[in-house]
Amino acid sequence: MDKIIKFFSEIGKLKRMPRRGWVIREIKNPETIAEHTFRAAIVAWMLAAHKNYKLDFGKIIKIALIHDLCEVYAGDTTPYDSILPKDKKSIRELVKTWPRFSPEKRQKIAAEKFKKENAALEKLIKDLSPKLKKEIMALWLDYEKGSSPEGKFFKHADRIENFLQASEYWRDNKKIPLKPYWIQAEELHDDPVLLEFIEQIDKEFHKDKKPKN
């Protein structure tokens, strides 16, 4: 039991770890990783249930709960990290665009991220029972690779939660650049329920004012 308490204490750190994407955008009091996890789980479950998708909701929620555990040790990452300038002014300019890389660099970034997060998760769960370890690792791999319909759906719902949060920050502060989120959304999502949700976000958030950038 002492080992499981240690595990719970370690993952409790996620309640205090701000998400890096908001930090680099200078959001005041940004949401934490655990706060994102909480809503991503509900978003995924409810959007799938809304359209009566034949998915295992228990599995979706488990994938949601564990998908960012690795960040206790690996830290949060953003797509900008490999090209992030040091000064704030340059960062403000950079986050106005969606970062694009050559196929080789994409592969390299993805491989390095996977290796780092995989090692972090293994370290985090090393003292859990073999059954729990196996289950957590399997769920995480499913999320990473989108290998089951549940893993794939959650991977996209995870981005949708991020997109919703960006829109909420923009509602409060019109200086938050939304264009990269829209570009990503239009290239990434192909699930009908998530595309419908994106349209709804547009109607809900841009009734009075359209984002300029």
Binding site: R100, D190, P211
Partner: protein, 158 residues
């Protein structure tokens, strides 16, 4: 299960066939109480995952899902030479967007991986690019109105 056509490459078809056969064999051996085989090593199929599937009873639903895909798939092939100037499934498309250049491979939903430049033909950008030619400017109807300019189209499906 919805009857939908799954557009996949030959490589993906082989992977799915191997996974389907492997899981059927796994299920058969398990029903005979024999030791589970440890032969499932395709890139997208992690033994841990399969083992977990068995533990929680999702094995059958994955087998059914794979069968549905295999029964309703269409292979992505290179189009005839006179049709290669148009963006279609399997096209490698160089684009310019928002002051940057990028390259997409247009694939079906099962192989989509935008982080790796593989864009689904069912995504708004994928759908919009289909049927266009080099030089076309493709407008995506989003709040910012993003435009993709097509700079090059190639087909390299093996």
């Amino acid at each position: 299960m919805e009857e939908k056509i799954f557009y996949i490459t030959k490589k993906k078809l082989q992977e799915l066939q191997e996974e389907h056969e492997g899981l059927l064999e796994f299920e058969r051996k398990r029903s005979l109480s024999q030791e589970a085989p440890k032969i499932l090593e395709s890139e997208d199929l992690n033994p841990e995952f399969v083992s977990f599937q068995e533990d929680v009873g999702f094995l059958r639903s994955r087998i059914d899902e794979l069968k549905n895909i295999l029964d309703h798939h269409e292979l992505i092939k290179n189009p005839a030479k006179n049709e290669r100037s148009v963006v279609g499934l399997g096209a490698k498309v160089k684009i310019a967007v928002d002051g940057q250049n990028d390259e997409f491979l247009l694939v079906g939903t099962l192989e989509a991986n935008p982080a790796m430049g593989k864009i689904s033909n069912e995504s708004p950008v994928g759908r919009a690019l289909l049927g266009h030619k080099v030089g076309d400017e493709v407008f995506i109807n989003s709040p910012m109105g993003i435009t993709y300019k097509i700079k090059n189209i190639k087909y390299e499906i093996s």
